[in-house]
Symmetry: D2
Subunit: 400 residues, 4 copies
């Protein structure tokens, strides 16, 4: 193995803090005993704060893809129509899943450089006089493109039509990194996972559910058992789970929630925003193009960079991995080789970002990719000019 | 927290070895990079040895209940009939799941003191001239009762009828503890989980699949996406997974497989048998009754003990937890309060068993449960009389 | 490696709790920065509670033998006479060290079955009209014999003579296990180490020092530098150390102190007493003899058992290690082969003790050592009859 | 605590690799049993490779300052004269220690910007006709200044005089980072510690000893007991230690040795050289001055940077710690406030260095220290131009 610490700068899984890893590295306990019950109650309460909800959040001992499935099978029936927006690779996978589960998908096509379009969603719902559309599904932060859809605007668009469709949102790569408000934004099912902004290893996933979603689940007829909310909620009422939970990951979840709340969600979001801006300045400094075409939709969690014509992003990523021991995100399916993705989310700070951007700049040079030097310098300028500890509170915290 | 180490003697999750915990406590890596690929290939190859199979084993980032669902949805279609045996609580849960998923269950009733009956299964299949039964589902080791069904005999029973039904077996609490041979015994789908004999925390589960099962999956029509074998097998071919795997648990799986193979599966099985026999001698020494009614079906993984009439097993378990910091398994549903379960599986040894049985004996006394002293003594006699290191190979290993 | 958890039942190093191990497993920090300062202040304050003192406790990044040396070189001058009692192997080693450092040792001989004799010490001091004796050195708990000297009685004996000698006490295997009061008992230097009752790995050691000892250090002329109290105390005043401290062990020390204080020192001492009594009942049950000849001096930390004539303790220990994966303490120097030592100190509980005693009883049988069965049963009887959770407070704590 | 990973860029303790931390986080074992013996033999053999010696290396359960004392007390007698060179703070501390232990120090004064002067040493020895000088003591890498003395040249200088003095060298901050050859360079006692290039937490220290040093130890009369080589070597012959070793740190030592040998010592040294050169280019890019005045003596382990007149290095370090969560080394005693030290040794890589230098550059700006931007850019240019994986062997290793 190479010397020093690997830079895991894919847009998730993210760098797991030692505090979380050490929590996970504890003996498993009886999942039906009083010690577990206390843990269960703590994480079930704490996770609500992260979703900014007072409604139930279900925790699955499964990775994020499972929570997509859970959201669909609990609320819909065979043949139900769902409205989806083609924002990128992950939106496409969710769409594919919906099809496999027997749903009929109405797809709003996209160019993978924009988020879901509130106006188009409004138009489709307005046109759906018969209310055939049972759910609108949107990926909040498209991990494949670095584009963040504007959920509150979409909510308002739906509301304007008075359409009764459920609103299902995937926050797998935004929760704990980008401001997200399950209750305030009127989302019915929020899907998420553990391995991004929550700073955990993969293996847990979530459904935050509204009263309306619960009501829908009572009549939904897609077959379901493992993902069934009803038994989950019944057992969760006393801090337990209907089948064996992923106890050690729950130890980690408790720590991760504590870390996010200690830093404070607004500070967490501001940190991600600041790092994203520094990254974009670096990209522009190199003379490269950001995939996200609408500045209102820039992702605070990752930045996707377009390669100059004729240059292969995967060759670049390989050179960076081999020379600088850093993993970057690949372009997926239709973006394969054409973009690379810089993750700057999770347990992260200024100097880790500087190391990351330095690796990209040196990699561009080694791989012979046309660019201008100076991207790192532009990022340094932004970071130094916006250093958080100039605020007295931060200073105190860091030196206490 | 009380002083000293907790005794986790429920029949799973089991005591996770430090070697596995330390493996899990490592930074998560890029699940699409070369380092992960090597890990993926290692665990996908290694886990086959544990199932005693040369056929594929699918690893889900989900707990064991999910692998039950996977076995059903990949091989069956809505309305298919499955033959199940009511061996205990977990067989009942699997049956319930089958019903929820839209299957029609033909249930062979049981008294929760016996395993699945090969003769009855043979009779049912023989009577099913139309081959309406698409699958026979059996729980190898009933975790709720401590009864181990005789899978090879059931296989022979099925074969005698020439019936084409698939054979699905749950080994969640037997794999890595009790001899189990996926290939030799002609099982089509073997379901398992990480948190028992595999000595891992919960969060991984498995489907070992036969050629016949794969063939069935091509026409099976139950909706599936997360559990879909096809994409799993396609990605596994190069060591990868179609969606984010539970990387840190895979680190642990690699260690757990190594530990089982270092000890040697025959030695692992013999160790469990020996501890089970010592436990049964202790139970008889106390003058209490073992739930399992047929000595051919004694479980090597756990022993379920019946309470004297009028005494509550949960009060006993509570006294033991409070006084001796040991968790024992509860009686489930129809056995609630009537039995307690002693887990003696996983990462375990003679002195841990002696501590465990001592805790039970002292607990019986503290809780005022009528019994004779001397159970621990009977176990000591058996253990001392069958100490493994009298074999030269063992001795060398331990002092090397 | 054998399956299950090793039983480390030597009288130290003891079983390190996971909570301490996980604390040690954290990144090392700058030993001159504000985060370290906070840690330094916490452990320097906390360790005083364990020594039951308000006077300074010096923490060395060195194992316990070093703290012996520190006690001598800081308080004495070349040729000074020290009065020592031959209570066992470790008292002899300390005496040897004193000789090597240029001190003149006056040795009160002993039979290794008794503690230091208050009357004899009184007589020697009374006879020392010229006050040639500069220090009285006593090992509180002789780890090689399981005999605990009566420090308060020795203090009173010294006081009766009005002799000005310093009183130096080694508590390496008693601190955190057996009641010890540096201030109340008027000890001038208390020596201790991390790897016994403090439940840490070896690598830290301690000098608790009285005002009188500090005063002596100002004129003491034995050469010293690494062990020098003066610079330690100067740096400690602000939470720092004059040279690089063993940071990661200090992380562990913080946890260990917290654990002892959470349980409460009186409860910790009572727990050790109870386990020692159960162990002695087991020894008597086997028909074997306890080395400690005076019941007032029974050690609560370990029990040393004499072998029947003609039987080798090391052969027994080897059989137990090979068959039951348990380490017991050997007889040292003049006791070699004639005794074995059972450690029952540190992070320990009833069922760990039951496992320990079971291993001894089975080992006696396997090694062909004449004994009666029933020792374990005697211990069970004592433990069940004195179970701590019968007290409501305990119960609440364990199930909270 | 701030988000992300702390940058510990003091010149030791260094960033401890997870592999070492996880090794340390294992249960302590019996230090007199067969499992320990194997460990002892492995580390005692392996550490020789790091010192590039076939002679014994003694491992103390104590921090590095103790190994200084050990080198002196084992080889010298009260009043012996030792020749020392004032290369910086640590050389001064060693000198102070020598004085306290009763030695007579002949000090070659220095300006703290140069290493020990071979010519001056030669002159002093040549002038010492009576061979009153018993030992020449040199600090290989002065951690307080970033100046590396030229040990082979000093050896040749000593040899030219034919003087019989012992040659004692401190490699606390060079071993495992800068080429050092105990045997080839004819050093009699090499002193070292665990917390720098060995990548361990503090708590272990070393004396590598020549035949000549061992011979001297037989007549040396400084009092010694804890540090005594004789008993150490006697016990080490079978893999054991005369008193309780720091077992858990030895677990880590085994891993650290393995890591250094896997990378290969020449590669380790080249890596440090390359990072030091990049750092110096950054310093020059900022227009600042390097403390080390002789390019032949540039340290590969750390770089000490002089502050512009009128600017306080500690204010800069504070700004960097508060804003960017990075610890840098302070100027010590006569350099206090006038320099800061950048550690680039141990478990380290290109992107960690880029993050480190970015933190310095941004800190200079925030603290208002006059400088030019562009230091980081200069480092990137050097690192990209000398990337290791351009060599095929490296590439293969990283992607295997």
């Amino acid at each position: 193995m190479p010397s020093g610490r690997h830079f895991l700068q894919i847009p998730g899984p993210t760098n797991v803090p030692d505090r979380v890893l050490r929590a996970i590295d504890r003996p498993t306990i009886d999942h039906r005993g009083p010690e577990f019950q206390k843990l269960g109650q703590e994480v079930l309460a704490g996770i609500k704060e992260i979703f900014q909800t007072r409604q139930p959040v279900i925790i699955y001992p499964a990775s994020g893809t499972g929570a997509w499935e859970a959201a669909l099978v609990n609320t819909l029936s065979p043949g139900d129509r769902v409205l989806m927006s083609e924002t990128g690779h992950f939106a496409s996978l969710w769409q594919q899943m919906a099809g496999r589960l027997g749903l009929e998908v109405e797809l709003i096509p996209g160019d993978w450089r924009h988020g879901a379009d509130p106006q188009e969603i409004e138009a489709r719902l307005a046109g759906d006089r018969s209310h055939a559309i049972k759910a609108v599904c949107v990926v909040h932060n498209e991990t494949s493109t670095g584009v963040t859809s504007r959920i509150p605007e979409i909510r308002r668009a739906i509301d304007r039509t008075g359409h009764p469709a459920l609103f299902l949102v995937d926050t797998i790569s935004s929760l704990g990194s980008i401001d997200y408000r399950h209750d305030e934004w009127g989302v019915d099912v929020t899907v998420s996972g553990s391995q991004k902004g929550l700073m955990l290893p993969p293996g847990l996933s979530f459904n935050a559910v509204s009263e309306k979603a619960l009501s829908a689940s009572r009549t939904a007829r897609l077959p379901r058992s493992f993902w069934n909310w009803e038994e989950m909620l019944a057992a969760n009422a006393t801090g337990f789970f209907p089948y064996t939970p992923a106890t050690n990951l729950l130890y980690g979840l408790k720590e991760a929630i504590a870390m996010l709340l200690e830093e404070g969600l607004p500070a967490v979001f501001a940190r991600h925003e600041r790092h994203a801006e520094a990254t974009r300045r670096a990209v522009r400094g190199w003379g490269l193009e950001i995939l996200c075409a609408d500045p209102r939709e820039y992702s605070a969690a990752l930045t996707t960079v377009m390669m100059p014509e004729g240059h292969d992003a995967d060759a670049l990523r390989k050179a960076i991995l081999e020379n600088f021991d850093m993993s970057l995100g690949a372009g997926l399916t239709r973006l394969k080789g054409r973009v690379f993705r810089i993750g700057h989310l999770g347990h992260f700070n200024d100097l880790m970002l500087c190391g990351t951007l330095s690796g990209v700049e040196m990699g561009l040079r080694l791989a012979g990719v046309p660019h201008q030097a100076g991207g790192v310098q532009a990022a340094l300028d932004h970071l130094a000019g916006s250093a958080p500890a100039d605020e007295p509170d931060q200073r105190q915290r860091r030196t206490a």
